[in-house]
């Protein structure tokens, strides 16, 4: 990692669902403060990789190191799961807001329950984070009263408020109407500038190119190629990567 402070170090990650081996020995390094975009066709294992980082999926083997916390995926203890989750936060494709809580309640929930913050302080903190994502006027709305883009911005505020060391984004714009994608990407760009470490599974090539520091390309459960974002798009090394980029990059659309 060339002397850069490492935030996440994964070695030899294997994950199967039944007989289906989804991740076949993945090594992943994420430097502190970097924004890593994970690209790949569907079924390549990129979402599963992300969900193994905060142990929403339990891999069969491998190790992960995050700060001082080091654990062996094969023998995880509950306490370690909790520690790992407190260092990370996640933004989901389907937003996954708590339906019975307002926008404010959603952001405050983790502060009250996990961080043991007093209610008043938690709601004040929640307010500042909702303002950061541009939802100062939607604090008391329930998720069902918000658009997809607004819901996802609440979800981002909920993640940010926990002050995690790493934020994991799992296809955060894939479930949005096209005209709502930009408001979410805009917020993500803003966050990226604050220097927090981000791992983003995405299909948004423009985000990967413009915001990510590094790009990882995955296929069939392994990392095919990894490069600084600029190099990755300008000069992809592997044939499989070039094939993928040709299919997905708008400039190459042939009518």
């Amino acid at each position: 990692m060339n002397g850069v402070l490492s935030m996440i170090e994964i070695r030899g990650l294997h994950k199967s669902f039944g007989r289906n081996e989804v991740l076949r020995g993945v090594d992943l390094d994420v430097a502190a403060g970097s924004v890593v975009a994970v690209l790949g066709p569907s079924g390549s294992g990129k979402s599963t990789l992300l969900r193994c980082i905060n142990l929403l999926e339990h891999p069969q083997s491998g190790t992960i190191k995050m700060g001082e916390l080091q654990l062996d995926y094969g023998k995880v203890r509950r306490k370690q799961v909790m520690e790992l989750r407190k260092k990370t936060a996640m933004v989901f494709q389907g937003f996954n807001l708590f339906a019975h809580r307002t926008a404010l309640g959603n952001v405050a929930e983790g502060l009250v329950v996990v961080k043991k913050m007093g209610r008043k302080e938690a709601f004040e903190t929640a307010r500042t984070y909702l303002e950061k994502v541009g939802l100062g006027d939607r604090m008391d709305y329930y998720p069902s009263q918000l658009s997809g883009g607004q819901q996802q911005r609440v979800a981002i505020a909920r993640a940010l408020a926990m002050k995690p060391e790493v934020i994991l984004f799992d296809e955060p714009t894939s479930a949005l109407d096209p005209e709502l994608v930009q408001e979410v990407l805009g917020v993500m760009k803003k966050i990226a500038k604050t220097g927090i470490t981000m791992v983003v599974v995405t299909h948004e090539m423009s985000f990967a190119r413009d915001v990510a520091t590094d790009v990882i390309f995955m296929d069939q459960g392994t990392i095919i190629e990894r490069a600084p974002a600029e190099t990755f798009f300008r000069n992809p090394q592997k044939a499989r990567t070039r094939q993928f980029l040709q299919l997905i990059t708008p400039e190459n659309y042939v009518i």
Binding site: A99, H100, E109, V113, V114, Y142
Partner: protein, 241 residues
């Protein structure tokens, strides 16, 4: 005696206080069984959802038995069976409980609770599963423990879903308590039967009993409608744009 009409209205009026003496008994069976049943049903639902080994098999047999045998038979089994088992056990371990002092209504609490628990386990299980897996994962990703996720995220939403079904179950339970007379527990039907046995006016007595069940059920239905409205009002908390 009957003389001038189909029904002896005067006699029915006299019966009202006597039959009404059974109301507290019926209500106490229904309320105890409902509260214990919800707890049992919740525990059973969790065992089924998390597929806890051994307990899952026990839960399956329990629910299957309670749904596959008549409630009346269950009442007899606990009324005759529990004292026998207790007597047998106290013989072995030298306990000094006076089994004959246990009131019949205690066995009703047991059998009705077990029965209701089995039925409610499915209601509660489906209510819990109606809360999206995504919300559970979101709560977990924030660092909440499993009990925190259950208490803060799942139960408040599952409760709203379960309430109409719980209400139906309660009404059904309330009427099922009429079977307790078979174990000589003096609930509403028991009282009506005793009175009618003396006067031979069974029709009148059962009409009075029916009216009482109906009235109680109407009262609980109204209470439930009110309660559900309150819960949903809180949930929507409509904010106008």
């Amino acid at each position: 005696m009957q003389g001038n009409g189909l029904l002896d209205i005067n006699y029915m009026m006299q019966l009202i206080p006597r039959v009404a003496a059974g109301i507290p008994v019926s209500l106490s069976i229904a309320l105890v069984a409902f509260v214990v049943g919800i707890m049992l049903g919740f525990a059973t639902a969790l065992v089924k959802i998390y597929k806890v080994p051994v307990l899952l098999q026990i839960a399956q047999v329990y629910v299957s038995f309670m749904r596959g045998t008549p409630l009346l038979v269950q009442i007899f089994l606990s009324y005759y069976g529990i004292p026998m088992v207790l007597r047998y056990l106290s013989g072995i371990y030298g306990w000094s409980i006076d089994i004959s002092s246990i009131q019949a209504i205690t066995f009703m609490y047991v059998s009705f609770s077990l029965n209701v628990g089995a039925y409610l386990s499915e209601t509660i299980r489906s209510a819990i599963l109606s809360v999206g897996k995504g919300q559970v994962e979101a709560a977990e990703s924030l660092g909440m423990t499993a009990p925190q996720v259950m208490l803060r995220i799942v139960i408040p939403q599952a409760a709203v879903v379960a309430i109409p079904n719980l209400g139906n179950s309660f009404i059904a339970l309330l009427k099922d308590t009429s079977l307790a007379f078979a174990a000589s527990v003096p609930e509403i039907i028991g009282q009506a039967k005793i009175a009618a046995a003396r006067s031979s006016k069974f029709f009148e007595a059962y009409i009075v009993a029916a009216a009482m069940y109906w009235l109680i059920c109407i009262i609980f239905e109204q209470l439930m409608i009110f309660g559900e409205k309150r819960l949903r009002r809180h949930e929507r908390g409509v904010v106008n744009d």
